[in-house]
């Protein structure tokens, strides 16, 4: 007799395959897409693995994204006192109307049209990094010379953060995203970035330059702490996410040569390729998490006020109810509606920027190096299972 899948203790992260979500999540989606989950501190909350329910949770304003009442989904991520409320400016962790007020100060900058205008500059940055990669020769690390610096340079330039300062805050960001960083260390790294940004805000106020941070300092509605919080959020969000899509996505393409061939033959499919790689890889592999602000009926269950609901985007994006043959990477499919950028009011603010970065980066990469290949066995590529954002740590390539 087939047994019901057990109630998971903590969010399943153990993978059997580089690209697929953990088998435990897939099994739950097939058998019990809304499941109880025991959180790391013993809290009895929920785990959502289907597309339909994920969208329902993410678009329902009764599910809060504020830090209050959050239980850890994995050991070692205990929230501390400092995290009970969102720091000023950190609108991602706020609910409306606070969230709405701050987000609206930025949405004008990240529109489809404004991002399309950045194409020539992003192309320049990408080509420059390809020169760097080439310069380092056979075995060069694509992460170090290509996938990490491109989004980093773009967001630094947009915000007005001097790129020379990146070394220090990249150390801090990497530590923040490592799952096993002890909580006090994580807070120390957050502090270090915040101090750096507070200085920067003061400098921009004194001597404004032509960038987003200078523009924001002129807004009388924002105080210094809020400016620092916003800068922090944009800097972090603009860094690791696109970088990991580029790294892991390139590996996935190299390991699916028939798909890569399609892209080489017809670079115009790069738009749909980006959506499909986002769907297929779902690099936000843990969460998002929401807290019920009231008793809520969902999928035939009652979520009680205060209960935590964690969503697997990776599993939702492989739901056959929404996508045909979801386990196949198919660059020509219409993967629209994937949840890799989230859904609801918190859907990624920078998504249109991420899209043009990925389109240009992959188009240029495979134009410059039509014979690009891995310089090591795929099994030797270190995976970021230990990080809050999935991807590859390194990707040695040759051409």
């Amino acid at each position: 007799m087939i047994q019901d899948p057990p109630v998971p203790h903590g969010f399943p992260i153990e993978r059997h395959d580089r690209y697929s979500p953990p088998a435990a999540l897939t099994e739950l989606r097939q058998r019990r897409p809304m499941s109880r989950m025991r959180y790391a501190d013993g809290h009895e909350g929920w785990l959502i693995t289907s597309y339909d329910l994920a969208r329902k949770v993410l678009s329902n304003p009764l599910f809060s994204n504020a830090p209050a009442g959050v239980h850890p989904v994995l050991g070692g991520l205990q929230p501390t006192k400092e995290q009970k409320t969102a720091p000023p400016g950190m609108f991602l962790r706020m609910d409306p109307p606070d969230h709405t007020r701050l987000r609206r100060m930025l949405t004008g900058v990240f529109t489809v049209r404004r991002m399309n205008q950045l194409e020539p500059r992003v192309t320049e940055i990408v080509r420059h990094q390809l020169d760097q990669l080439e310069h380092h020769g056979t075995g060069a690390d694509l992460v170090e010379h290509f996938s990490l610096p491109i989004p980093s340079l773009v967001i630094c330039e947009l915000l007005g953060v001097p790129y020379e300062d990146r070394a220090s805050f990249q150390v801090d960001t990497a530590a923040i995203f490592r799952l096993d960083t002890p909580q006090d260390e994580r807070l120390a790294h957050m502090d270090s970035i915040q101090k750096f940004l507070a200085d920067l805000v003061d400098r921009k106020k004194a001597e404004p330059t032509d960038d987003l941070l200078s523009e924001l300092t002129r807004n009388p509605e924002l105080d210094r702490a809020e400016l620092v919080g916003i800068a922090f959020l944009l800097l972090i969000a603009g860094h690791e996410t696109t970088a990991n899509m580029l790294g892991l996505g390139t590996l996935a393409l190299l390991e699916h040569p028939e798909q890569l061939q399609l892209l080489r033959q017809d670079p115009d499919i790069v738009d749909s390729a980006v959506e499909e790689l986002m769907r297929y890889l779902s690099i936000i592999h843990i969460g998002p998490l929401r807290v019920a602000r009231a008793d809520i009926e969902l999928g035939g269950n009652l979520v009680k006020e205060g209960e935590n609901v964690t969503i697997s985007l990776a599993s939702s994006n492989r739901d056959p109810e929404r996508f045909d043959d979801p386990e196949e990477l198919d660059l020509r499919r219409r993967a629209i509606g994937h949840l890799a950028f989230g859904h609801g009011v918190h859907q990624c603010l920078g998504q249109q920027l991420a899209r043009i970065e990925m389109r240009i980066a992959w188009r240029e990469l495979f134009t410059r190096f039509p014979k690009l290949r891995l310089a090591v066995d795929p099994s030797e590529v270190p995976l970021r299972t230990d990080m809050a954002i999935y991807g590859v740590h390194r990707l040695p390539v040759e051409w």
Binding site: S59, T100, R104, T107, V109, T111, Q347, C348, Q352
Partner: protein, 65 residues
């Protein structure tokens, strides 16, 4: 005939509509909120794109009335 309604009060400026149906939707300069530039698209492709945009809008701001 298709009539599009966009609720600008709930729009979060994600740009999914302008990305999906650029002949029909745009975003304003200051806050990136949705602007309907063709409330009654005639072409089949645009109408399909509008249906997609309604489905994709993360804020539930779009509807066909």
């Amino acid at each position: 005939m298709m009539r599009i309604h966009a609720d600008r009060t709930v729009c979060v400026g994600s740009g999914m509509c302008a990305l999906t149906a650029p002949e029909v939707f745009d975003q304003d300069e200051s806050e990136g909120r949705v602007v309907v530039i063709d409330p009654n698209p005639a072409g089949e492709a645009d109408r399909q794109a509008v249906n997609d945009a309604v489905d994709l809008c993360p804020a539930g701001a779009l509807s066909i009335v």
